[in-house]
Amino acid sequence: MRTAERPRWRGLAAAGVVHGAALAVLGAFAWILGDLLVAGLGQVDWAFLTAPPQDAGRAGGVGPILASTGILLAICLVVAVPLGLGAAIFLAEFTPAEGRLGRLVRRSLDVLAGVPSIVFGLFGNVLFCKTLGLGFSLLSGGLTLACMALPLIIRTAEASLRAVPPGLRQSAVALGMSRTSVVRHLLLPAAAPGLLAGFVLGVGRALAETAALIFTSGYVDRLPESILDSGRALSVHIYDLSMNVPGGDHRAAASALVLVVALLAINGASALAMGRFGRRLGAR
């Protein structure tokens, strides 16, 4: 009797802990979003999204800042996605999992992924702004972001490529497919959901970045005319409004709301794309 009771009690407790953890995560998200909605929603309108900031950000909008953020993100992705995908294919397909080179590269990537962003910021400032002479510019900032996002993209992409069942590869080899066509026609489509997840993580890290950008893409809140102009990212703007400008809190909340909605939109769009892709694969 007793032996039958105990697992039941344990099972219930475990279920409680698991449900509680899930609810806590949901609660934290709802709290953050609710807080931002209450503090920021009243100020976000078309004018706020398009107008330039005034009075150190306490009036006006975030138009030029949104443009700079978008350009930074685009530069980061244009550089990081092809490089990241290439490195991941190398790691997953062209080196043995336990080989010395593969282990070394993987270890370095894991260390890089854990490096605090301010270190990337100082590194970017020295390498891109000073040594390469790009100055405070969107290009310096975007390249710094790419350095930060790369380890994340490579590691998730490698994991999803490795997760493709070995049977698929073996059948392809048996059919006489070349290595490149195996990668192109078989592995990349099969690993697409994982690749997309890594991409979304990279975008998230890039959009949320403050410390790496303040010394690379800079503080200038004017609409950039080229990628060699300095431009303020949305997260830098939020930081400045809440920590440096007296009376900037309400505008900081409104800008933070815009940032969160942008992140949600990107997440939603990739989930949608993933669903589409899954269906297309299934139909094949």
Binding site: F136, R222, S230, N244, V245
Partner: protein, 272 residues
């Protein structure tokens, strides 16, 4: 399929190259340094650009030490420094554009009305640990200090003749607003921040109180009249004498044309 991808890449590369090469031919003045001055110079720069459409004023942040270093090494045309220049910075020329005072702040609910010089030194060196020792509640004092490299810290230390190693702080903060938020959120905290910022926030209901210093109330008016003992100049520094576009911008930043901007950003204009 492959051709289309190649074409798309080529177009992207072309756009990138074009954007890269078309960096505007306008005169560019780069300023870096004090985060206290950066919002003010951003606004002054905006007005200057409106008057001189051929000039770009790029304002970057990072702290006074960075302003000094960048002006020296030529990374910036003009450095922003929110304190007087030191003897070993004689290679730089500093031009004042505004004044600012630094006041001690406590939470609004703290009953302590004033602290003497000895009490402030005692609190910041950790010899006085309880508010009850200076006429407050029987609670621990939470000392808020500024981070290394901040000119507010250097001013505070030199006024009270302290060294940073002597200070026993519980919280170390960066920018002014962070200091105000830390004190507003902790009834036992004491900190020191720019008077303009503190007055602005206190006037909008943030629960902080400015303490008088050596019997002088911490107000904008007292800083302007030169009565407040702990005040500083906001400087624009250049390597050697300012020249060319930088000189014109510095003269504009000192002129009566931007007086309203100086006051809007809670600083004290130079000329009364």
């Amino acid at each position: 399929m492959r051709w289309r991808a190649a074409l798309a890449l080529a177009v992207l590369a072309g756009l990138g190259a074009q954007a890269g090469c078309s960096r505007s031919e306008k005169t560019r003045i780069v300023l870096t340094g004090s985060s206290t001055i950066a919002p003010l110079m951003t606004e002054i720069g905006r007005r200057y650009e409106a008057k001189h459409p051929d000039v770009r004023v790029d304002v970057q942040s990072g702290g006074s030490s960075r302003g000094v270093a960048d002006a020296r090494q030529g990374q910036a045309d003009v450095g922003m420094v929110s304190r007087a220049l030191k003897p070993d910075e004689a290679d730089l020329t500093g031009t004042p554009i505004a004044r600012d005072g630094i006041a001690l702040i406590v939470h609004r609910d703290n009953p302590v009305q004033a602290l003497s010089r000895a009490q402030v030194v005692g609190i910041y060196t950790g010899q006085i640990k309880r508010w009850s020792a200076v006429g407050g509640a029987d609670r621990d004092i939470v000392v808020v200090n500024k981070a290394e490299g901040r000119s507010t810290l250097e001013l505070f230390l030199s006024h009270f003749q302290l060294k940073n190693e002597q200070i026993a702080a519980q919280v170390v903060i960066g920018d002014n607003e962070q200091g105000i938020k830390t004190v507003a959120g902790n009834p036992d905290a004491v900190g020191y921040v720019s008077i303009g910022t503190a007055e602005y926030d206190a006037g909008r209901g943030v629960p902080i109180r400015l303490l008088p210093l050596e019997g002088v109330e911490a107000t904008h008016a007292n800083v302007q009249a030169g009565r407040f003992p702990l005040s500083r100049v906001l400087l624009l520094v250049t390597k050697g004498e300012p020249s060319g576009p930088a000189r014109q911008l510095i003269e504009f930043a000192r002129s009566a044309e931007v007086r309203d901007l100086v006051e809007q950003q809670s600083f004290v204009p130079l000329a009364p």
